[in-house]
Symmetry: C2
Subunit: 351 residues, 2 copies
C-alpha cells in the first residue's frame, strides 16, 4: 500500500522518497498553475532539477485524453522505461491524470503524488483511483493504481485562498463523520477564519489516515469503501445542476451541502442522532453559505441522480450513517423522502 | 485468475461463461476481418445477438489510441456501466486493445477473450497483458488486467491458412521448450502438413496451460514470467529489421528463427544439450524456411536489440535454457557471441 508522508520539510521529504525508489529516469508533471505557484517551493532540490518537466493546461476541463496522450508522448520521446519514476505536482486533476498515465505507460511505472490543494490532499491523491474525463463524463476512463508515496505539505495550501481551503475541508468533515465522534468534534472546532497551518497539517494527516484505512480494507470499492461516498450522491447532483445553469460550484462546497441532505436521510432512515445532525448542519451553514435551489428544481435534481454511475435501474443509492463512525452503505431513498431532505436542506441554509 | 475453456461447442461455452457472470449489458468487439469470418460461427447465439456490436479496423497497425477511443466512445454512448461485460472476438490485436479498453472503462469492467487465431490463443489472449501501440512503439501503453474467461476453439483456426497456423505454432514450440522434454517431443512430432484439428485443440490447451502456470506464479513479470521471452529478444530484432527493409515478417516466424539463435546461446552459455538443439532447429528449418540476413546486417541487428524495453544500458538480456524445462532468466551475451549465434542461425537454415 502507498506510503503517506506528513511533510515539514518538503524538499527533504521528496528527496528521501525518490531515493528510496530504484528508478532510472525521473519525470515531473505540473499544470500551468502549479508550475508557477508550487514548483518554486521545490526547485532548489537537485533531484527535482534533474527531472524531465511535463506541463499540461490547468483545471478539470483539461483532464482529457488529449492531455493524457501529451504525457504519454513526452515519456516516450524522452526515453522513459518501465523503471522510470513520475512525480505529480498538483491538485486532483494532475494527480488523477498523472496517476493514470503512470498506471498505463509500459503497463505501469512507479509514481509519487504531491498534492498542492487541500482537496487533492484529502481526496484525489490518496487511495489509488486514477483517471480522466471522457465525452463529458467525469472519471469515465481510469484505473485503480496507487502512488508509491503521497507527500503532504501545507506549504502549498497558503496560496489557496479561503474558498480553496473550505473546498478541501468538506471532505475532512466527511471523513470525521464516518470515523468517530471525537474526530467530528475536532473538525467542527477548528477555526477556519484564522488558520493555524501547522495544526491544519495534523488534521489533514489524520483525515487522510481515515481514508487510507478504509481504502486498504476495500481497494476496489466492492463494499466499505462506499463509506467515502457520504454526501456525494447529492453533491454530484448539485454539481451537474450548477453546470446546467452555467454557474459551476466547487466540488467541496457541493459535498458540504450534500452532507446536509444525506445526514437528514441518515436521521430519517438510520436513526442518526438529531443533535449531531444539527451541530454539523450549523457548522456547514456558517462556513459554506447556501447553494440556491427552489422546489421547482427538485424534479431535475432527482432526474440527475439517476445518471450517477453508482445508481442502477432508477433506484438512488446513498451511503448513510446511523451514528458518527457507524456507516450504512447501500441505503435507498424514494423520491418523496429525497424531496423532504431537500426541503430540510433549504430550511437549514435559510433559503 | 482467469478461466480457460477448451471448447468443443463454441456457442454453448460462450453462453455458459456469459451466464456465470453477473452483468447488466453485453458488448461484442470484432475487427473488420473477424466480423466477417468469425462472427458467423457464433451469431446463432441469442446472447450474442443481444450484444451491442463494436467493430474496429483489422491488423496490428490499427492497435492505436484512436481505435481505443472508438471502443470507449461506443461503451459510453451505448450506456455501459461498471457492471457491463465485453467480449473480444479476434486475434491478438482485438484481445489486446479490447482488454485494455475493459481495464480502463470506469476503472475496469469484466471481459471475455475468444481468440480467433492460433497465435492469439497461445499468446495474447491469456495472461492479462493488455495494450495498444503508441508513437511507433509496440504495446507502449497498457496494463495487466486478465480476462475473466478465455474460450479457445479451433473452429476459428480452419480459415487461417498454413502460415497462420505456423505463426501460432512457434509459441507452442517455445512453451514446450520451457516446460519439458515430453512436451517438446509431442510438439515436434505433430504433422503440420496434415492438421488434425481436434488433436491441435488438445495441444493448444496444453500449451496455454503452460503459459497460465507461469503467469500465475509471476503476473507482473518480475522474474519467472520472463521464461516466456525465450526466442523473443532475437525475434523482435528480426521483426524491426524486416520492417526497416519494408518487408515485415509474421511474429511467430520471427519467434521460430529467434529460438534457433537463442537455443544456440543456451547451448554455449548454459550447456543446453546439442542433440536437442539440433532436433529443434531441424524442425524449425523444415517448417519455417529462412529469414534472409547476411553478416553485413549483424551490426544493425545488434543495435536494434539495444532498444528493446527489456534491455538497459547496452547489455542484451536473454532468457535461455540449460535443458528442456530448465529456464535461466537474465542471461547476457556480448556482441561477439551474439554474432556467432547469428552465424549458427544462417548455417542452420542454409543461408
Amino acid at each position: 500500500m502507498q506510503q503517506i508522508i506528513k511533510s515539514d520539510n518538503i524538499i527533504e521529504d521528496i528527496e528521501k522518497a525518490v531515493r528510496s525508489i530504484n528508478y532510472d529516469k525521473l519525470y515531473l508533471l505540473t499544470d500551468q498553475n502549479t508550475v508557477i505557484n508550487c514548483y518554486p517551493l521545490i526547485e532548489k532540490s537537485r533531484i527535482i532539477q534533474e527531472a524531465v518537466n511535463i506541463s499540461i493546461p490547468a483545471d478539470d476541463t483539461n483532464k482529457t485524453v488529449e492531455n493524457l496522450c501529451k504525457v504519454w508522448r513526452v515519456l516516450t520521446e524522452k526515453g522513459a522505461t518501465r523503471h522510470s519514476l513520475l512525480i505529480n505536482l498538483g491538485g486532483g486533476m494532475v494527480t488523477d491524470l498523472g496517476g493514470f498515465a503512470a498506471a498505463t505507460f509500459k503497463r505501469g511505472i512507479k509514481y509519487i503524488n504531491i498534492p498542492t490543494t487541500l482537496l487533492g490532499a484529502v481526496d484525489a491523491a490518496v487511495g489509488g483511483k486514477t483517471g480522466i474525463n471522457f465525452e463529458g463524463y467525469k472519471n469515465e476512463i481510469g484505473s485503480f493504481y496507487p502512488a508509491d508515496y503521497v507527500i503532504i505539505s501545507t506549504d502549498f495550501f497558503h496560496s489557496l485562498g479561503h474558498k480553496g481551503i473550505l473546498s478541501g475541508y468538506a471532505e475532512m468533515i466527511k471523513h470525521a463523520l464516518i470515523h468517530s465522534e471525537a474526530d467530528l468534534q475536532e473538525i467542527l472546532s477548528f477555526p477556519l477564519n484564522d488558520i493555524d497551518y501547522s495544526r491544519l497539517n495534523e488534521l489533514v494527516f489524520r483525515s487522510v489516515g481515515i481514508k487510507r484505512e478504509i481504502v486498504e480494507k476495500d481497494p476496489f470499492e466492492k463494499n466499505i469503501r462506499k463509506a467515502l461516498n457520504l454526501g456525494h450522491t447529492t453533491a454530484h447532483a448539485f454539481e451537474s445542476f450548477a453546470i446546467s445553469k452555467s454557474s459551476p460550484i466547487l466540488h467541496g462546497y457541493a459535498v458540504a451541502w450534500g452532507i446536509i441532505v444525506e445526514l437528514y436521510l441518515s436521521h430519517r432512515l438510520c436513526g442518526f442522532p438529531k443533535d449531531k445532525l444539527q451541530e454539523t448542519v450549523r457548522f456547514i451553514q456558517q462556513n459554506y453559505g447556501a447553494f440556491d435551489i427552489t422546489c421547482d428544481n427538485y424534479e431535475q435534481l432527482y432526474e440527475i441522480t439517476g445518471h450517477d454511475k453508482k445508481n442502477q435501474g432508477g433506484i438512488i443509492n446513498f451511503t448513510l450513517l446511523s451514528d458518527t463512525g457507524t456507516v450504512q452503505i447501500d441505503q435507498t431513498a424514494d423520491k418523496e423522502l429525497f424531496f423532504e431532505a431537500l426541503d430540510f436542506y433549504r430550511d437549514s441554509v435559510g433559503l
